[in-house]
């Protein structure tokens, strides 16, 4: 077994996963907020006003990274769901279910900031723009996975059922995106491209990329934190979990 599979195998065992992520978590959160602040500073202060939308376009520095993140979270969920269903690895089951609420949060942020951005640009809060509509359908996919996971009593079975739904959903995401854009071109009444400012020059690009990196780091910090809690809940019968939760005293009775 070469070092990579050994590492991966070790990472799969709950106590080690718990310890490693517990040590990693503060660093991840700290670096995410640090990079985020730098990006926000770049986007809000340094970047010049857009000649067409003046300062309203600065919503892009929140809207676009969250849109990318909502898709990334779904892929992360789907990959873990696949591993969980095929190799029955408990950790990837938990990671898949932990990433669903985070993806839903980022999708909700995208929708909210998108509709707020639409108000000054188009005069109405909600526009049936192709990307916003497919983002809304993505939110329903997330709600479906979370709803199914909470509806079933037994945690392991719930995770497997919701993982299967996530896999079915992953096929659906590109199809929805394609059909919505086709639907949008069919009714090509909509005018200017809402989501991008007329042109992206470098002074706007690097804050955007920094914020995208910050959201990705934040995602891993949050998915590890949530996974650790569900792991403790699932393994509360075992000694390692009890000693991790209640201090070494409680473990041996």
């Amino acid at each position: 077994m070469n070092t990579l599979t050994l590492w991966f195998h070790q990472f799969g065992s709950p106590p080690i996963f718990h310890r490693v992520t517990a040590r990693l978590s503060p660093w991840l959160y700290a670096s995410a907020t640090l990079i985020g602040f730098i990006g926000l500073y770049g986007g809000l202060v340094l970047a010049p006003a857009d000649y067409q939308q003046s300062d309203a376009y600065r919503i892009i520095f929140v809207h676009v990274p969250c849109a990318w993140m909502s898709l990334f979270a779904y892929f992360f969920m789907a990959i873990n769901a696949f591993i969980a269903l095929v190799w029955r690895i408990k950790i990837s089951e938990i990671l898949a279910m932990a990433s669903a609420p985070i993806g839903a949060v980022f999708t909700a942020i995208t929708l909210a900031t998108g509709s707020i951005w639409g108000k000054p640009m188009w005069g109405t809060w909600w526009t049936w723009d192709a990307r916003l509509t497919s983002e809304l359908v993505l939110l329903f996919l997330y709600v479906g996975v979370i709803g199914l996971y909470n509806a079933i009593e037994d945690r392991r079975q719930a995770a497997r059922a919701a993982a299967f739904l996530a896999l079915v959903g992953i096929v659906n995401v590109p199809i929805v995106h394609f059909s919505v854009t086709w639907w949008n071109t069919l009714h090509q009444g909509s005018t200017v491209r809402l989501l991008g400012p007329s042109r992206i020059d470098s002074s706007m690009l690097w804050p955007l990329l920094l914020l995208a990196l910050a959201t990705h780091v934040w995602f891993f910090a949050s998915v590890f934190a949530r996974a650790r809690v569900s792991l403790l809940e699932l393994e509360s019968g075992k000694d390692w979990a009890r000693s991790a939760v209640l201090g070494p005293g409680a473990a041996h009775d």
Partner: protein
């Protein structure tokens, strides 16, 4: 607090139902999500043109919210019937119609209220003219308790059956027709600038009537179907 009086029984029932809903608060959002999906379907089918959507917005909203309310009816008695608490309720010394009335009110609070809260958001999606929104909300505030009351009678009749979902829809929807007509009538009148008070008053009268008669009918129906 003296135990065993009718007031304490209704209070205990309301408190228990609210705690139960809080324990399952994830499910409380299901009717709202269902209504949102149904509303999103229409622009996808009919096209996103704001003025076309605005004309049919009130109607779509009312139908979507009525259907969502109807779907939520099913768990009014089902879980109680399965774990035996419904039998205990029927056996209680207090007037069953009062207990069922408090049950229906809590059910309305936990299912229809989120629908009314989400209605402005859905109205915005369908570009409903801003002037019609208050009338729509008043119509919903009168129509949804009416639906819960009428629906409860039908649910009581089908409580023993296993696959009662579709049958419940067939029983309830004809009762919904007048409610829908008056609610939609009020909204369309408001949209056309005509006076819209009359249909709302009709809804209010029907609600007052149902508030008194429906719990009794529900109690009688429950006694029939509990055997």
């Amino acid at each position: 607090m003296r135990y065993g009086t009718t007031a304490s029984a209704c209070a205990a029932l309301i408190r228990r139902d609210l705690v139960l809903t809080w324990r399952r608060r994830g499910d409380a959002l299901n009717p709202a999500m269902f209504a949102m999906i149904v509303v999103v379907m229409f622009p996808l089918a009919l096209g996103p043109e704001p003025n076309q959507l605005a004309r049919i917005a009130a109607g779509i909203l009312l139908v979507a919210i009525l259907l969502a309310g109807m779907l939520a009816l099913d768990n009014l008695f089902r879980s109680d019937h399965e774990d035996g608490t419904l039998e205990q309720l029927v056996l209680s010394p207090h007037p069953l119609s009062l207990l069922l009335a408090s049950r229906i009110i809590v059910h309305w609070l936990t299912t229809a209220l989120p629908l009314i809260v989400v209605a402005p958001l859905l109205a915005e999606m369908l570009h409903l003219p801003r002037s019609v929104l208050p009338v729509l909300l008043v119509a919903l505030a009168l129509a949804t308790p009416l639906l819960s009351l009428l629906g409860a009678v039908c649910v009581a009749l089908t409580v023993g059956m296993r696959r009662s979902g579709m049958l419940l829809a067939l029983l309830v929807l004809p009762l919904y027709v007048p409610v829908l007509i008056f609610a939609a009538g009020a909204c369309n009148a408001a949209q056309a600038g005509l006076p819209f008070l009359a249909p709302l008053l009709w809804l209010g009268a029907a609600l007052a009537l149902a508030l008194v008669l429906a719990p009794m009918a529900c109690a009688a129906a429950l006694r029939i179907s509990i055997t």
